[in-house]
Point group: C5
Chain length 340, copies 5
């Protein structure tokens, strides 16, 4: 489930963000603890080798290497490249969310403009909304691992009631190399056009309104498809990952508590055994990279990913509510409290 | 109340921003003084321990630790990560404000297009606007702590006159797992459609205009809901908080005025007792983080948060004014001053 | 007056930006010279105290303090925080400018769609445009110090011909706690609706066009109001100001030309008396902060602020020109030069 | 083919980005290995010259030069300028992709609003969509090297079925110095207008809808043309390239493992022969620059460039499917599963 | 002419950006060589003075000054302020380009909706488009030095066929303190309205379409005007210029190859005579500033500036082509290749 925490920090009070540090779900700890353990293990390994196994000559060599590593690790401008990369990933992430096709506008328009309380009217309205929802399911199936798991085949979609058997046949019958998510929307356009001819849609302007909202809806589905198809160039992601990984690889050696270079430094030398600063840096930088990993595809199954299945259910539910149960079912008009 | 200060700095005159430093309300001092006191207390504690309690050997150990801390604290790239984080939070913050649903467009359109000076006409116009306002109250109740306090239950909304008892019943009757803020807007669509049939809305184009503005209004409500639902990933906030907190934790030790490392440094050693630079850094960086805390949820009760309750009152007031009192109530047309 | 200089640098020729450095109006020198003098005075004061008044022991103490200050002043990441802050202020600044309500679209639509060369027709068109202009004057009065000075009371607006006495009475009669800038626009909507009934507006589509442009116009007024109401959080501005001010406070001491720390540095010591580098840094950083001060409220009376009064005059002038003088007054159609 | 990898990193699991490092297709390795080999070769060359050929005096000179180079190479703020440059290139890159003209909206509108199951109806609908597709082919031919290769002359477009011989003649007949991509869209407008007169388009509102979508489509074609015409200023690209190239030129000398400056550094001197840190830096910075090279023109033939030819095929295929096969061919309406 | 180079770097192949370095037109070399020569000359001058003219005592003073300069020059955060400044200038630059009024949409709408193959019909369509083009010429004349040179007076515009003598008279007759670019567009609105009355525009919806596109066109003209009127605040440009200039002024002294400070540094001292690193830095930073100079006003006569005159010609040419030659002149409809 999306981890929502803004209500907790609604007021900027004493140590406001502190409480956010003690959460497990969707937290940096949960995301990073495995990498952290691996890093700790490798660091200890090197530490043990250096302290217990190496001869004095080998130790000296190790010490030189460590100093060298430490010096050059500083040259890697991680914070810079991470800052820019994450900012761009973040914008795509929010762009993807706002591209999520919600049927709210469409259902309001269908409810208000496709008339008739009889069965045919209901059938028209419900089918129109079903088409719209089907379309979003088809597109989400191809980009969200959660939805793919829920609907491994098109038959599962039929079973879930988003599609009829006949529709599935028609869909399979039409040949296209590419994603067919747009087909139910073409049905929508044609059905709306038919409804206009039957007089269920009373005028051309109402039909136009339906078409406009349909196009908005389709544009969002299409945007989602393209966000999935065109990723941030692989090269960019590789460059960032390489920078962070190589930095910490060097830290494994360079941040060992080796003997100081010069004799007079002995008295200020601190051997902590546990490199808490390096570990903190790891948490910080590797955590920042994890943010990128998290938001680069918000349609996965992370704690923080979008709840696509829940949204699909919500959409079909409110669609039917709005065009069927609520259609022309108004509470009685009353004078309000401030009527004068 | 939102702290508005731009008028004071309208002109970039001598020491323009200086006067902004001497404000309490909504200021960095008010937000931060508690954390500041805690930091001071802990710093003093360590200072006293170091100076008065530790033995000379222990002192030397402490000094080493302090030097070590100070050296590594510099590696934490706070300014960078804060800069990027705050920029993103800022964009969301302004996005949230501009998503605040204002009924101004809607009321102008209702006033101009739903005709009839009789009671039915008034009832229609007032009810339409009441629906719109009700919808925004429902959504704001779920995201703003201030509004939630004002309307703890739906009954409070009825009492305040935004909803009738009948409407509450209908609303409760409709089952949905999710926020029902969109329901009054569906009523709006259906009522407008009914008004068209009664001839109160004179043509299809006017109806379309009503529908368009309704959709704009709904889109804003929906946007607000999503801003609340999809926060900045928790991981990101944690990374930033962790960076700032660990930096100042290290400063507690690393910025103590310990004895200098080498004998010849004694004569240039300065022991200020009060680490004014570190305190300033605290004000600066922790203050920057507080900015994030402040704007990450602008619907809380901070001095600088949006005045949702005030806006709700303003909206219903001007809605009624525009569609009722001002409807077709024009001042007499006169030739203007420059008429030739 | 807005300082426009792009024409001077239209071509990137030799030392292109150089000539911009020798301008007084709207320049950094004009904005900053007072602060600069104060800084110079304080620096000299400390310098004189150090060189002439202090005893040798006190001097040594001062030198230690100076070195300490200088070292820590470097820790303040001014350029970073200024960079981010100014970028955000800049976006708001441009956003405010593009929100300035211009009647151009509206007047073209009124001119083309409200028909009638007789007095009633002229009266309608002129009044509609007057309402629009009145609305922008009302909103600008509340945010621009220049406009406020020009129209200290609503009577001044009547005098200037933007409003009639009757309209003022009606406006005063309507009670609202909030800015009433939207009221003339509601009159506009109602008057347009009336014009449609009279047949002056010939069809529903033209009325819709009027309503759409009206809504665009109103949206801009509203945006302007909100930009004014919701400032950049005070805390943010305070943090930035604090950083810059404390940096230069430390420079007053830390950048004094004190005796070098070690004997062997004597021979390389440079005592310039005038700290030209520090003064340049002052110009640079304090200048950057001044940019922020300048653009955070573009409706003041700075050299670079928007010329609201001039724009108000332009708007009413072209409005009347377009809807009255130019209405259906076309130059004769002729075949153009390339007619074949 | 566009390298899509987001599905692989849908979940932020252990070492999530690690697997991305072991890919060849579209990877940084594939893009950069040639430059890398050249750099290695040159480095070795200098290394051999220094170690084997130079006399001791010359070696000393070389060592001085190396130290000098190394010191100044640090002054080049590559990460900064690269960060800003890539960010801007990235925004253009995504802008270009979202400007890709997709016929989806247009085909839905044509399918729903140009009526008639007879041959004339089909002909109209198919021709309209062919015009739209032809237009995008014409514009893509001028900007995408892939499309240019596929359609070296206009005859190839005729052959591929996007244009008839007659249309080619008409196109050639019309004289214009500039790209003629907009001409088929003018035909579209005129043909739609004709279809309205024939009654195939039933009302003015439907015609307007066609015109609106046509304009959207044309705007995208036009945007694409302008992205191609107006590049990021050459000067900017040169500055960035120069910075990166000169940095690595200096590294060739400055990062040689020369003898240490002072005698007492001998014992800590590390001679690795292979400068792994410098090579990593090369990968990192030159890789970042390659990202820029990759995205500055996404219509080339890189692994990561847009698959324009594939998109062209998809577009014509779905266009015909939607307006012909699917036109008024609806699956039978059935009550859905949740009908009550 | 705009320097377009993206086609050359369509594929990210070996040393892709390298070839961009060997261009003269629109290059950094062409833009910067004069400043570069001046800098070299001044540097040599100081060098000669130091080496040949000064006495040993004076030399020592100079050396101190040089070291001092060098130390403080590092404090100027040029890369930061340049990065932010150029980014903002870049956004404005692209904003200006996308605000360029292109008549493509308008001409398509005129061609499709203003009917009549007779002379009156042609006259109407041609005149409408001429008005639109005239308007853009009027606005461009006031912002582009190139267009100003081409049309120094309004008579030149008449001569070029964009305006008739009668229109010029009418234009001159109307008094306005401000740019009159909007007047031809008001004529357009009125003429379209007249065409509707004559029945040349067949329905209200078509008229509305014309009006909408007209407003879009006008909005772009207006945007262009405002981009010109409201520059980036002069103060900001001055701050950036001052930073870069003062940095290089200090480099003139600070980067001289003075004798090393301490005796033992003699053996590592490198005296290159030519400060290649400083020269590179100059190219790099001054080049970055030149980017700003180049893009701050894209309507000048630089190699990289927009080709306004060429665009004006293109616009009038395609306008006439579309509304006259191509009006209802369609190639014969044929079954396409894939007809089944």
């Amino acid at each position: 489930m999306t981890v929502s925490y803004t209500l907790e920090v609604a007021n900027a009070r004493f140590a406001g963000f502190t409480k956010l540090l003690f959460r497990w779900k969707g937290s940096i700890y949960k995301l990073l603890y495995k990498e952290f353990l691996v890093f700790c293990f490798l660091y200890s390994l090197f530490s043990v080798i250096y302290r217990c196994i190496l001869t004095t000559d080998q130790q000296e060599l190790f010490e030189r290497a460590a100093r060298h590593c430490n010096k050059f690790a500083k040259l890697i401008p991680m914070s810079f490249v991470l800052g820019f990369y994450i900012t761009q990933a973040f914008q795509r992430w929010w762009g993807q969310y706002t591209s999520f096709p919600l049927p709210d506008n469409l259902m309001m328009v269908v409810s208000g403009n496709v008339h008739g309380m009889d069965e045919r009217g209901r059938l028209l309205r419900r089918t129109l909304m079903r088409y719209a929802n089907l379309s979003s399911v088809l597109i989400l199936r191809s980009i969200s691992t959660r939805v793919r798991k829920r609907f491994p085949t098109l038959e599962h979609i039929v079973e879930a009631g988003f599609m009829t058997e006949e529709e599935l046949k028609t869909l399979n019958h039409l040949y296209s190399d590419f994603n067919k998510y747009w087909m139910p929307l073409t049905w929508f356009a044609n059905l709306a056009s038919q409804a206009r001819e039957e007089g269920r849609v009373k005028d051309d302007i109402a039909l136009r309104l339906l078409m406009d909202e349909l196009n908005n809806y389709r544009a969002k589905c299409s945007m989602l498809f393209h966000y999935d198809w065109i990723s941030i160039p692989l090269v960019y992601t590789q460059v960032v990952t390489l920078a962070v990984y190589s930095f910490f690889a060097f830290c494994l050696i360079g941040r060992q508590f080796v003997k100081p270079e010069k004799a007079d430094e002995y008295k200020v030398h601190v051997d902590l055994y546990i490199p808490i600063f390096t570990l903190l840096e790891f948490f910080f930088y590797a955590g920042w990279l994890k943010v990128g990993e998290l938001i680069i595809n918000p349609f996965g199954e992370d704690d923080d990913d979008f709840e696509t299945n829940q949204l699909i259910d919500r959409n079909i539910q409110v669609s039917m509510l709005a065009v069927d149960d609520m259609h022309q079912h108004l509470p009685p008009l009353e004078k309000d409290k401030y009527w004068m």
